[in-house]
């Protein structure tokens, strides 16, 4: 446990040593601010069945960000250590493989959360300027962010696995993005199979459906379980890949 914390601190710091943290932070804020503004303007002109939070979390731009950010922030994690050889210095200290994997995963996840937290401001900015005095309904906001972080968690675990399986960062990002896209687009099939028996299966996989439901404020256990098991599965694979170094040939 102590080692995870030591390594976590270093990984977090290394995000902020490089410009990557600031560039991504600015991108997310700009994009989501623009996003929020567009939907707020749109809704003020033409009422819709969808709430502002549902638009906010399910717009095309949001999904592009959700799918692109995890590969970018995970590609470096394992691949770079292998390429520069620092893995050799690291794994000859009393550090367990599982601690190594978890520290990397948690640091990427914490960074992902840190990127999105400032976007909460949009809601308060809107209320301020709209002089909205009705009590805030926290359900959709909390639900939306929980949904966002659950999806992010799974995609980051996929990114970890991709990064552990190669020493080239670009290849890691491409693998992670490809797997994420397959998962995402298989969820879209839900909309094409509106009648047949596969509908339920696709619904279970569909990130789009999950996000819509959660940004409505409805958090169901089966969705949480889906993301948790998915994350554990990909972290398990990551651990096995890291451990394969220790297999006797």
């Amino acid at each position: 446990m102590k080692n995870i914390w030591i390594l976590f601190k270093r990984e977090m710091a290394s995000y902020f040593y490089s410009p990557i943290a600031y560039i991504m932070g600015i991108c997310v804020l700009l994009q989501m601010g623009f996003n929020f503004f567009t939907y707020a303007t749109f809704l003020s002109e033409s009422p819709s069945d969808y709430s502002l939070m549902m638009w906010f979390f399910n717009g095309i731009f949001t999904w592009i960000m959700i799918l692109v950010i995890p590969p970018v922030i995970t590609m470096r994690l394992f691949a770079d250590e292998k390429k520069t050889g620092t893995i050799e210095a690291l794994m000859t200290t009393p550090l367990r493989d599982i601690e190594y994997v978890l520290a990397k995963f948690f640091s990427a996840f914490a960074f992902f959360v840190a990127l999105w937290i400032p976007t909460v401001n949009c809601v308060f900015v809107l209320r301020h300027f709209a002089k909205d005095t009705t009590p805030l309904n926290p359900g959709p906001i909390i639900g939306g962010y929980i949904g966002l972080f659950l999806v992010g968690m799974l995609l980051i675990a996929i990114g970890c696995m991709a990064s552990a399986s190669t020493r080239n960062q670009i290849i890691a990002a491409i693998i992670a993005f490809a797997i994420s896209c397959v998962l995402f687009f298989s969820g879209i099939y839900f909309y094409f199979h509106s009648t047949d028996q596969y509908r339920e299966i696709f619904e279970y996989f569909s990130m789009l459906v999950h996000m819509q439901e959660m940004s409505r404020g409805a958090i169901e256990w089966k969705r949480v379980v889906f993301y948790l098991t998915g994350t554990i599965f990909f972290l398990f694979l990551t651990h096995r890949i890291v451990q394969s170094r220790q297999w006797k040939s």
């Binding site: 710091a13 794994m91 009393p94």
Partner: protein, 312 residues
């Protein structure tokens, strides 16, 4: 400190080391010598628990490297080849991080980092970013890292590669200094380094140990006595005749030099020193003499001989 028994490492398609067996006692500085691809780095990686051997066992600091690798790793300091460091960190940050990872208690971390920084001469760069350091400093940061938790055993993979002669001298002094209180296993290409720092040499070639002894006895054992080299002003045919006649001389190589001088290399049959008798002969004849030395065998000769012998 290290007890290696029949260690084998197979990669897909080839065998990097074939059944290494050796041991290193506490307090020794052992040099690991061999041409590129001989299996030096592989052996060191196995001993430092980075990867497992295909078969065979090794006990380091009293623990088996495979079944008890965490205990082994607590007790060794390993510096990989080319010294991988995190370029974005500052020197003291890095050393603190490494000390924490190696289980140095928080209360002792700062003093420990200061101590090794001083030992390795990097106190003046402790606030610098590692990526901006010169190769020599980076090497020393790597060394400081291996020492930071006061390990029983230090394993250094080519600690002086890529350094300039001054830096090599400094690192060598440091290793000698460390050898007083630690057991050290180091690999290198630079043979003079081994001669100067190590109490014992293990030469490996193609994954097998071909020699293991002190540098001095290795030289004696493998080469016999060195030849005596003279520069004398006389006719070469006369010289050859004269020196062939001395008892104990195996053969004489002769080559003409400027100003009527000849260079002779007189090879003894055994381990004898021919300097005295050669001087007497020359004095009897009254030949002008401008050089008389006995060529000392270097470990390089032994190394080349041993590692090429095997190729045939």
């Amino acid at each position: 400190m290290i007890q290696v028994d029949n260690l084998v490492k197979r990669y897909a398609g080839f065998t990097a080391i074939h059944g290494l067996t050796f041991s290193v006692q506490k307090g020794e500085i052992v040099g690991f010598l061999g041409p590129n691809g001989a299996g030096k780095s592989t052996t060191m990686r196995i001993l430092s628990c980075f990867m497992p051997a295909s078969s065979g066992t090794a006990v380091v600091a009293g623990f088996d490297i495979y079944t008890n690798s965490l205990e082994v790793r607590k007790r060794i300091g390993y510096m990989p080849e080319n010294v991988p460091l995190y370029p974005e960190m500052r020197v003291d940050e890095y050393l603190n991080f490494r000390a924490a990872l190696k289980g140095v208690p928080r209360a002792r971390r700062r003093s420990q980092v200061e101590k090794v920084s001083q030992q390795c001469g990097i106190t003046d760069v402790s606030r610098k970013i590692i990526g901006h350091l010169s190769k020599g400093y980076r090497q020393r940061v790597g060394l400081a890292d291996t020492l930071v938790h006061d390990p029983d055993l230090i394993i250094l993979d080519e600690p002086t590669i890529g350094l300039d002669p001054n830096q090599i001298r400094q690192v060598r002094e440091l290793i000698k200094e460390l050898g007083k209180s630690h057991t050290i296993l180091l690999s290198t290409h630079i043979l003079s380094e081994v001669e100067m720092t190590c109490s014992r040499v293990i030469i490996i070639n193609k994954g097998r140990i071909v020699a293991s002894d002190t540098p001095e006895s290795l030289k004696r054992l493998r080469m016999g006595g060195g030849e005596t080299v003279l520069e004398v002003k006389a006719d070469s045919a006369v010289l050859t005749r004269e020196f062939q006649g001395i008892q104990g001389v195996d053969h004489v190589d002769i080559s003409p030099l400027d100003g009527g001088f000849c260079k002779l290399a007189v090879h003894p049959k055994g381990d004898e020193d021919l300097r005295e008798i050669a001087y007497q002969r020359i004095r009897e004849k009254g030949w002008p003499l401008r050089e008389l030395t006995r060529r000392r065998q270097t470990l390089e000769d032994v190394f080349v001989q041993i590692t090429t012998e095997d190729d045939d």
